[in-house]
């Protein structure tokens, strides 16, 4: 029976995992709601303002990106550009090789997942360790993050304890505090041994060149304290006009992502460490990565480039809560992923064209979005594109017969009358594979076909 891939995934998901994903997401939504509503009389106005700032930024990307580049140069950072994922990987390994760096510590960055940086570095014989606790567990398990902010939302403490035992971080112990302490002491060695630290960036201020990095664990700070080289991978759409805009964006980011006023560490970097300081990078490289973002900018879905990766739309989405992140088969899950992933897929658009359909268009994602992205509208546009490109469409009944009926008044009238027979037929027993998934969870009201037309007629004759 043809069904949507996301739905199949949800059905096969382990019930324990599903409950964990559901409960953790729902808790995230509640925390966001309570802090945003408690701190602002009109949080929606702030979201709309943030949306305008981001929309303005991406619609003036040519100006702001150039300005950011100049500001970074002025402060002694090297700026690189990469058109494709491969180019970005090459740029990173090129910098590392020139700096003689063999060991790298990495702080969480979605774009490095997008370009599969760790795999590339491994082929060059460069050791790259993920330092965010969740991302480290993903790395040792050879797994993929299932949430933008909470990468191991799909794992429980027993899974993690087994992985730590396997990696030689101590005997089996599933106490979360012990797990965290073991990661602390293991990671400490890695930071101090590393030649380079790789980070992403949450924002880049064009005016000052400052990259803004937010973390709770302090891992990105460590990546910029111990190693001598800093490489930041940044999507070109992350640029904003000035530091002043951050007041709006940072106040929304922490509250939307984790229900915090601010994340614990909010770091602003626009160059190598101050001369003479004992710690901090001597070299800073910023790689601006396109990887189809300019293509998205040219499309009618450009609003998705406003995204600040808070994960609020994942938490609130009824589909994400049931299916978890891996159902989206791409780096970005949930509602934002259902828009972004097919767009980033390029020629492989069709393979992910089912994602925009895995939505009831309930609109909750738009209501929680800190930058007010009209996600349901974008999903509809992508559904349309999928249709135009003849993407496979499992779960959608063939509409040819309906189209024929609906375009001939005579046939329509006859069908309306004839369909009264449906009241006598046990529908759930009919061998109609396309309708069965629907009918399993729905009962149709009694068929009274034609009554609307009669009513219309009586209105006209009055």
């Amino acid at each position: 029976m043809p069904e949507q891939k996301v739905e199949l995934f949800a059905r096969r998901l382990d019930p324990g995992v599903q409950k964990a994903v559901h409960d953790n997401s729902a808790a995230g939504t509640l925390k966001r709601y309570s802090i945003l509503g408690g701190d602002y009389d009109t949080p929606d106005e702030l979201r709309r303002l943030a949306g305008q700032i981001r929309q303005h930024s991406i619609e003036h990307l040519d100006t702001y990106l150039e300005q950011a580049e100049k500001s970074l140069h002025r402060h002694g950072a090297h700026v690189h550009f990469a058109v494709t994922a491969e180019d970005a990987c090459q740029a990173v390994s090129g910098i590392l090789e020139r700096a003689g760096a063999r060991k790298v510590v990495k702080s969480k960055s979605m774009i490095s997942e997008e370009i599969h940086l760790n795999d590339h570095l491994a082929t060059r014989g460069i050791e790259s360790v993920e330092t965010d606790l969740g991302e480290y567990i993903i790395q040792i398990d050879g797994d993929h993050p299932s949430h933008i902010v909470k990468p191991i939302i799909h794992k429980n403490r027993r899974d993690i304890a087994r992985s730590f035992e396997r990696e030689g971080l101590g005997d089996y112990n599933d106490d979360p505090e012990t797990i965290t302490r073991r990661a602390r002491s293991f990671m400490r060695r890695k930071y101090l041994e590393a030649d380079a630290g790789i980070t992403g960036a949450n924002f880049v201020s064009a005016e000052s060149g400052r990259l803004v990095l937010v973390t709770n664990e302090g891992n990105s700070r460590f990546c910029l304290a111990a190693p001598r080289v800093h490489i930041a991978l940044v999507g070109i759409e992350k640029v904003i006009p000035s530091d002043a805009d951050l007041a709006v964006l940072l106040n929304l980011l922490g509250r939307s992502a984790t229900g915090q006023q601010l994340t614990v560490y909010t770091e602003f970097i626009n160059g190598p460490a101050l001369t003479g300081r004992p710690s901090g990078p001597r070299e800073m490289h910023v790689i601006f990565v396109d990887n189809r973002r300019s293509e998205i900018l040219a499309s009618d879905c450009r609003e998705i480039l406003r995204c600040i990766r808070c994960g609020a739309c994942l938490n609130v989405c009824p589909v994400y809560r049931q299916a978890s992140g891996h159902a989206y088969r791409s780096v970005y899950p949930g509602p934002v992923g259902a828009v972004l992933s097919p767009l980033l897929a390029g020629k492989k658009f069709k393979e992910l064209a089912d994602l925009p359909k895995a939505s009831s268009l309930c609109g909750a994602c738009n209501e929680v979005c800190p930058v007010d992205i009209p996600i349901p509208d974008l999903l509809l546009k992508l559904r349309n594109r999928g249709h135009e490109e003849h993407a496979p469409s499992p779960g959608t009944p063939p509409m040819g017969a309906f189209a024929m009926l609906a375009s001939s008044p005579l046939l329509w009238r006859a069908a309306m009358q004839g369909s009264r027979a449906m009241n006598l037929v046990p529908l759930d027993k009919l061998p109609l594979p396309y309708l069965q998934p629907w009918l399993k969870t729905r009962t149709l009201p009694e068929w009274r076909g034609g009554s609307f037309r009669r009513w219309m007629k009586s209105r006209h004759s009055r």
């Binding site: 700070r221 601010l262 909010t266």
Partner: protein, 202 residues
């Protein structure tokens, strides 16, 4: 690399060229991002202490109270930089005191004082910068970190702090101890950075 740069800029320009109009830069009304409970006439220091404690940062105004706390924490080696003689002697009563942070001592130093560049009352954040803080690692690696915040350098809001951003290659706002909720959503403090964050207001 220059060709990649040109390619990207030319793709961006051709993506934007067909737009009939572009979204203007919105004016950010003063105080737009301030929480509704914020009182502009509030005492900055009192608000800072209240917000900092709410995020898990201990606040001290008396150096000996701060030293007493470190003593109860069984701290054995403290880094106190520069000319902070009073703190050195207070901590010297129960712990070994060093005045520079050395990487070789990363496992031994369990508390460090570092001067801060300021603080933010609205969020209870401490501001560190390369200029103010002699060593990034000293403010990060020990279990206990105590920032020395000057009363006159407390900004009321995040927006105020951004407007007065120091000209420094690296500025960091620290809002509470290092934490994670990656394992089953359970909050654990002290992941990579300090498990106990404090500040001494001078």
């Amino acid at each position: 690399m220059s060709t990649a740069r040109e390619n990207i800029f030319s793709s961006i320009r051709s993506a934007l060229a067909p737009l009939p109009s572009r979204t203007p830069r919105p004016e950010i009304p003063p105080g737009a991002a301030e929480p509704c409970w914020l009182d502009r006439s509030a005492d900055k220091m009192a608000l800072f202490v209240q917000r900092a404690e709410a995020t898990g940062t201990r606040c001290f105004t008396d150096p000996s109270a701060c030293a007493d706390w470190l003593r109860t924490q069984n701290v054995s080696k403290v880094c106190v930089p520069g000319p902070l003689e009073r703190l050195k002697s207070l901590c010297g009563a129960f712990a070994e005191v060093v005045d520079t942070y050395r990487r070789a001592d990363v496992d031994d130093i369990d508390a460090a004082f570092t001067p801060a560049a300021g603080a933010i009352a609205e969020s209870g954040s401490i501001i560190l910068s390369d200029e103010s803080t002699p060593d990034r690692l000293a403010a990060l690696a020990p279990w206990h970190h105590i920032a020395l915040v000057s009363r006159s350098e407390i900004h009321l809001t995040i927006a105020d702090a951004l407007a007065a951003h120091p000209d420094d290659p690296n500025v960091i706002w620290v809002t509470g101890p290092s934490k994670t909720a990656d394992v089953e959503g359970i909050l654990i403090q002290g992941v990579h950075g300090p498990g106990a964050q404090a500040c001494l207001i001078v």
